[in-house]
Amino acid sequence: MGYFAESFAELYNADGWIDMGMFIGAGSSAAGWWTVIASVMLIAVLAKGNADEQEHYK
């Protein structure tokens, strides 16, 4: 993983900070993969939650 910059010196100019993501994985495909993982987890949680709920009603 790691961070995309070792120093912020080059990312600051007369106009201020450069307009770009400052999160871990910015500028790479990491954001997309985290979104996929989060989406899959949400769907899995709903499926498990529903299975548990139906069990309660039996």
């Binding site: 993501g21 400052m22 954001a31 997309g32 939650g49 309660h56 009603y57």
Partner: protein, 467 residues
Amino acid sequence: MEDQILALTAELAAVKSAAQVTNTMFAEAYYYLTIPLMVLIHAGFLLYEMGATRVKNVLSSGTKNLLAFAFTIVTFYLFGWWFYWALPTFPYDLASGAGYMEISGIEYASAIALPWGDSAQYMGPNMADHASGVFWGAFALFAATTASIASGALIERIQTVGFVICAIVLGSFAWVVAAAWGWHADGWLVTEFGFHDFGAAGLVHAVAGFFALGILINLGPRVGKFNADGSANHIAGHNMPLTVTGLMLIIVGFFGFLMACIILPGEGWSWYADQGTTIYGTPMTLSALAFNVCLAASGGIIGAWIITKDPFWMMSGCLAGIISVASGLDIYFGSTVIVIAMVAGMILKPCADWLEGFGIDDAVGCVTVHGTIGLFGVVMLGVLGSGAPGLGAFAPEDTVAISLFGQIVGAIVMFLLGFVPGYIVSWLVHKAGMLRIPDAVQIKGLDAVKVPAQAYPESMVSPNSDS
């Protein structure tokens, strides 16, 4: 002399730069603070809903309400925000291209509102972006509000996950489409019909209220609500003070909600350098809100009191008073607001009773307070505000003005955007066996069956619970 001019020029540039920094930080803080204020709406709905529930179901209602908040916000991040920017011109432009202001369309939305690819830089921490996060946050809370609105109507017999699925469709799709069409300077309801809904009476309240109605039809009433002859029984909640206090908290949150509907000046995304506006670029001030929201809340309470004498309906009237004038909070005079809000408070309970006559068990009057009064407010603006310009000074000359016809068209669209998705998604959930809690479980009490915690000490049990 030349040196002095150069020095003064440099000083002026420094002052302008410092002023811009102050403006930017103020704008960011302004919208950021609307978010916790709107969380108070959810604190209010949580108390309101749990108070309106019987003891045997109180934690189950709380669980459902909390999940509506959480799932709506998460899914609004994943795809709801994209719909808002992508759909303003659709279906007038089937390709969903950019509108006149060029801040809409699929291409634009994909550049700023998807949590992957290049647009991800505007969906997370960004070194230079002081706007995207706070705007997204405010809209996410609007989305969660729609889900919380619908939640109260369905208490004590809807399954948790089935409800969450409905809440996601409402909060991250149905109301978002309404906002794209009627709450965006490129929205076709605005550009083609002059639709005006400053405070979201139609696109938040009416959509959520009628979405709830669509669900209620498939869900059916609580066990014991109706007798064999069709007459209705009153099912009292376990804590009226909790409910009434919750409603007052919702009102507090409304101030944040409506504050977030103002576009501040002086930023790259502002309509003007020196004046605040509505989302349509028309004139708006916080002072206008201060006059009209306070008066609307009071008018609604007074109107409901004279009809019902019941604090529950008085606080519902407070909510209805604000909703009834929300569309035109920017252009109504204070005394006009008092009249409209009082009328809204007066018609509230008769409208709720009328709906109950059709066998609809709306446990908290949600369909009436938000749906019926929301549409009443949208149409009233058409009656009283016809001729007011629909967009600000930047708009093309042939911009459509506010009209009764345009507001009625908007009201019909809002009704359909709520009711149709609500009915369809709840029908599908019902077919999957995930909508209605079995009657035997309702009679026993939901908390005893599916919540591993107790709301109150063991000695305090519901008189109509088997548990």
